[in-house]
Symmetry: C2
């Protein structure tokens, strides 16, 4: 019973991949699924063990990182609730996944999931579309890493996080009302995501505050006073 109910009461059931499944297939997946929890900072999957499972993020934020032998590190993606974590059809994951905040996952065996993909065209379709979107998002971040100034990068990150953490807030141009967000990343992690140093991030946040675009509250709290200006500073691409 608790198992059968798990999916029905799931917080992300309307947004995660599993929304593509029929009730009976959902029940099937449900029998195979299990929850996992991680504390902020814990490694979820690294280079060593070939991960045998995939997952949907239920709560919290997961960061995907790649690193160089000498310790330089780049965060190549952030996963929010309803996002998919894992690399089907490959035994070795090309990145490490780490809990940025406390995280809850809904996990399923990778082999089983691949089997389900094979027999459920709609599931595969949804995964394909999400993967295509992931490519687009990566390309957008490449534009940021290759071209943008420190100020633009920080602004862009705040816009990204605001959109993911408060998805119901009015999108694009009309986003007028001040918005309060809690950063899921430390300064060092922000720097790793933006290709900057943490000192630079700190200074740019200062400047944004001085310009009355944001207001910092405590370590990780941010009030976006002027969302429109922030989006302008972030520099939306032409295409």
């Amino acid at each position: 019973m608790p198992r059968a109910k798990a999916c029905l009461g799931c917080a992300v059931k309307d947004k995660a991949l599993c929304k593509a499944l029929s009730p009976e297939d959902l029940a099937k997946l449900n029998r195979l699924a299990y929850r996992k929890r991680y504390r902020a900072g814990q490694m979820i999957s690294g280079l060593s063990a070939p991960e045998a499972w995939c997952a949907t993020i239920l709560t919290g934020v997961v960061k995907l990182t790649k690193s160089l032998p000498d310790g330089r590190q780049q965060i190549v993606g952030l996963l929010f609730p309803s996002d998919f974590l894992g690399r089907p059809f490959k035994t070795t994951s090309p990145y490490a996944a780490e809990a940025a905040t406390d995280v809850a996952l809904c996990c399923y065996n990778r082999g089983h999931f691949e089997g389900l993909l094979a027999e459920q065209p709609e599931l595969k379709q949804l995964l394909l579309e999400r993967t295509l979107d992931a490519v687009d998002a990566s390309h957008e971040w490449m534009l940021l890493l290759g071209c943008k100034s420190a100020k633009e990068r920080v602004a862009a990150l705040l816009v990204l996080i605001a959109h993911r953490l408060a998805p119901d807030a009015p999108r694009a141009g009309a986003a007028q009302p001040p918005l309060r967000i809690e950063l899921p990343l430390s300064r060092a992690e922000i720097a790793d995501y933006l290709g900057l140093r943490l000192e630079t991030v700190s200074r740019q946040l200062n400047r944004l505050q001085a310009a009355a675009v944001i207001k910092r509250v405590a370590r990780r709290g941010i009030t976006i006073c002027n969302p429109r200006e922030l989006e302008r500073l972030a520099g939306e691409p032409l295409q």
Copy 2:
């Protein structure tokens, strides 16, 4: 007859997406497909017209670019023969495609292609795996753009191009023999791909030559004298 033969004699038939198709389905696609040619520098698809077709690269190199309103530009991907060009399931492409060299494409209507995807699980599977690989490749490039020095970037680009243009050369560690490649990009384009200025690219190529790692011949010719050292300089990631 010429149509029917087109696929059978295709230079990329064993590597492109269409290798997933059965002979009869290949014939079906073949009836819908048509060739297109572009000269180096020509725009293939931009932001304006929602592209109504997808394609396989037959010969040449295509660059995918994103740009900012003020003219800053980033190359977010290079496509080589057998690669897939297009954005299924979206009417507006998030990037512009331009011929870096003279290019020949094998094009098919986007709607038809999507229909074929729906009825051919193996085709969809192959596209999914390629898209997953594209995400991995983008992540790798994000590591480059976020962390690496100018010298490492230039070395990494040469390694990438060498692997794509001379795929038969021994991969990884053992790549000993000198290798001659022709750059498909101008200095300015290389800079746009690496997040550098063209002057910096020029200087770094000089240094690589001074270190006897490469030898430049004419404008776009490069002989890689020491492939192993070049790969070391490029800095392979831990994961």
